[in-house]
């Protein structure tokens, strides 16, 4: 078994809602509410889920861009939630992030060269030959070095995403969290980026936490996949296992909802009723019970346990056996 580079235990992040004269906390947005998963060295863990289920929050908390409400984030055996700022600075070299919006994730007022160089300046690395390093980085992501002096708006979306990659790679991290890196891109560009990611992973032995709402993309890039619903992870399994043998009704419904670009490939559809409840007042019991086609009484009261149901296959459903 490979080393678990990242292990998340019972992580929670609540955003308090303050109201009234004294700003009392009246409620919490339970953006993530007790999730556990791990990522192994060199693999890609896909994290899928619908909008607002807490994917980006997970990414930010793991990076400690947000402070967790509770739980552990263990990176290479050390719990980083208790790191002080100096330790965090050091850790930042190891974990990096790429964002969804290629337009918002680059500083519009800095040239690409300046931006990439900054990664070294911050950590006092590569003194004197930063620019060579920048050139190397750009080459890796497939951007010509002479474009270093250009500003972000002079690049297309795909190129910006490459630059985002270059920035993430600058400090040679071992784990890269990709928060929907291709969602905003056109299909033909999306393919370029996905291929790039895959090649880089091989060459630089990177580990990815790949966040997306697009199951086809996640399936394409991931080794294992975790499915999130309303602040919880409902199922985790190896890719093949998950797609062929889902053990959670939500995963099943999700899989069946994806349109297949092959006319006539119509399959059995599980159409869920309603929409995702608000994380402000998540349903009692199993969070999915309001939309679940096979919900029973127990689902409304008792929260299912997140347990192993097969080889490296975990799920949280009272009736996973019957699926």
């Amino acid at each position: 078994m490979r080393e678990k580079i990242l292990q998340v235990n019972d992580l929670r992040k609540y955003f308090p809602i303050k109201k009234g004269l004294l700003g009392k906390t009246v409620n919490n947005v339970k953006a993530i509410d007790g999730i556990s998963f791990f990522v192994e060295q060199g693999e890609t863990l896909g994290l899928v889920g619908e909008s607002g289920c807490g994917k980006s929050t997970t990414a930010r908390v793991v990076l400690r861009l947000l402070e967790p409400t509770s739980g552990q984030v263990i990176f290479r055996g050390r719990d980083i939630t208790s790191f002080n700022s100096a330790q965090m600075r050091n850790l930042r070299k190891d974990i990096q992030i790429i964002f969804q919006d290629p337009y918002a994730s680059l500083n519009p007022r800095m040239t690409v060269g300046q931006m990439l160089k900054e990664a070294f300046t911050i950590h006092d690395e590569k003194k004197g030959h930063e620019m060579e390093e920048v050139e190397k980085l750009l080459e890796i992501v497939g951007i010509r070095a002479e474009q270093m002096k250009k500003y972000p708006h002079e690049f297309s979306g795909g190129q910006r995403q490459r630059i985002g990659f270059a920035r993430a790679l600058a400090l040679r991290p071992s784990l890269i969290i990709c928060d929907e890196p291709v969602s905003a891109l056109d299909v033909s560009i999306q393919a370029q980026i996905l291929n790039l990611m895959r090649n880089l992973q091989r060459e630089l032995s990177l580990t990815y936490l790949f966040i997306s709402h697009d199951l086809s993309v996640v399936r394409h890039v991931s080794d294992r996949i975790a499915v999130m619903y309303l602040g919880k992870i409902v199922e985790t399994a190896d890719k093949h296992e998950l797609y062929t043998n889902p053990k959670h009704p939500y995963t099943k419904a999700l899989l069946s909802s994806v349109p297949i670009p092959r006319p006539g490939a119509k399959k059995e559809r599980i159409i869920l009723k309603g929409t995702i409840p608000s994380p402000l007042n998540p349903p009692e019991g199993c969070r999915f019970n309001t939309r679940c086609p096979m919900a029973q009484d127990i689902c409304k009261t008792k929260e299912p346990e997140y347990r192993e149901v097969g080889v490296r296959h975990y799920t949280a459903c009272h009736f996973s056996q019957e699926i």
Partner: protein, 324 residues
């Protein structure tokens, strides 16, 4: 051809902007038949929305300018109609759903107000009848407890609900044509399925012709009867849905199909169309796809290909002409 309801020929639209003239639509031709769904695919900025707005006469003019073309609807050219005449067609005979359910409803008015507005405008109903009609439409659109929803403001509804309201609104007057401009792009997959299912159902019921604009080939495959592939403002391929997916003719269509990951079919490496979409300010000479085309020849670099007939399909590529 008696079945055809909308015929677009040689539509060209440009935008006069501060940075120069953008040629957004450079030749779009297609025919829409009654009760049929026409899928329009293409990458961002290729002119899908502009074409559909041109049909409804909703382009902001200026900066937009229709350079040429005809849009024949029931025997007359929509481009030649006055604004008054267009007003009685819009929302009544041809209606439209937009991509962003979040911003397509006026935040200051209730859902009921916004639906009844279109009903009052085109139908001769009194207040009570209008209300009943609203409720009927909301029910059709699969909105639970429609009476209550009428009084809701848009921000009180989820994205999927809003898109249902938009559909209810668009179908309120039994239009002949429904233009759906990326109706599900902003929605989650589980919601997308609901909406697509709803559209299919309603089409069966009212025999509406639908123009389904999207960049998601999966949606096209599920919804469309015919498919129009647009690249850089031009139709590059026009055929029925099966042929497109089974045997794409145009290199762009081919590349596109190969570059998407497919859920039930694991590809090791995705095929990549190299390069990028050309800028509308600076279209390449010749075939606009030639800088990215694996098969490009000299002629592709100099001469603009026409839309050639290949069997019962149309494709804008020299490969299918006598010139190849």
């Amino acid at each position: 051809m008696g079945n055809s309801i909308l015929e677009v020929k040689d539509l060209k639209v440009s935008f006069r902007t501060e940075d120069g003239v953008a040629f957004a639509v450079n030749g779009v031709d297609f025919t829409l038949n009654r009760g049929e769904t026409l899928g329009i695919v293409g990458e961002s900025g290729c002119g899908k929305s502009v074409s559909s707005l041109a049909i409804l006469g909703l382009l902001p003019q200026p900066p937009a300018k229709v350079e040429s073309g005809t849009i024949m609807y029931k025997g007359s050219d929509l481009l030649k109609k006055t604004d008054k005449e267009m007003q009685s067609i819009r929302g009544n005979e041809i209606s439209m759903i937009f991509q962003e359910p979040m911003t397509s409803l006026n935040p200051l008015y209730t859902v009921g107000n916004q639906i009844s507005e279109v009903i009052k405008l085109h139908q001769d109903l009194d207040a009570a009848q209008t209300r009943d009609k609203c409720i009927e439409m909301l029910t059709l659109a699969g909105i639970p407890s429609p009476e209550k929803r009428l009084k809701c403001y848009p921000h009180e509804l989820s994205g999927g609900m809003r898109q249902r309201v938009m559909i209810a609104m668009a179908l309120a007057c039994n239009p002949e044509i429904l233009i759906a401009d990326e109706p599900t792009t902003a929605l989650d997959v589980t919601i997308q399925v609901q909406i697509l299912e709803l559209m299919n159902e309603l089409q069966r019921k009212f025999n509406t012709a639908i123009m389904m604009i999207t960049h998601d080939l999966g949606v096209i495959a599920e919804m469309a009867h015919k498919v129009l592939v647009i690249y850089a403002g031009r139709v590059v391929e026009y055929a029925d849905v099966n042929s497109i997916f089974d045997s794409p003719l145009h290199p762009y269509t081919e590349g596109l199909l190969a570059s998407i990951p497919v859920l039930d079919d694991v590809k090791e490496e995705l095929n990549v169309i190299k390069g990028m979409v050309p800028s509308p300010f600076n279209m390449p000479k010749g075939c606009s796809f030639h800088p990215r085309c694996p098969d490009a020849k000299d002629i592709c670099r100099t001469e603009q290909p026409e839309l050639y007939q290949a069997g019962d399909r149309q494709v804008r590529c020299y490969k299918y002409s006598s010139l190849w």
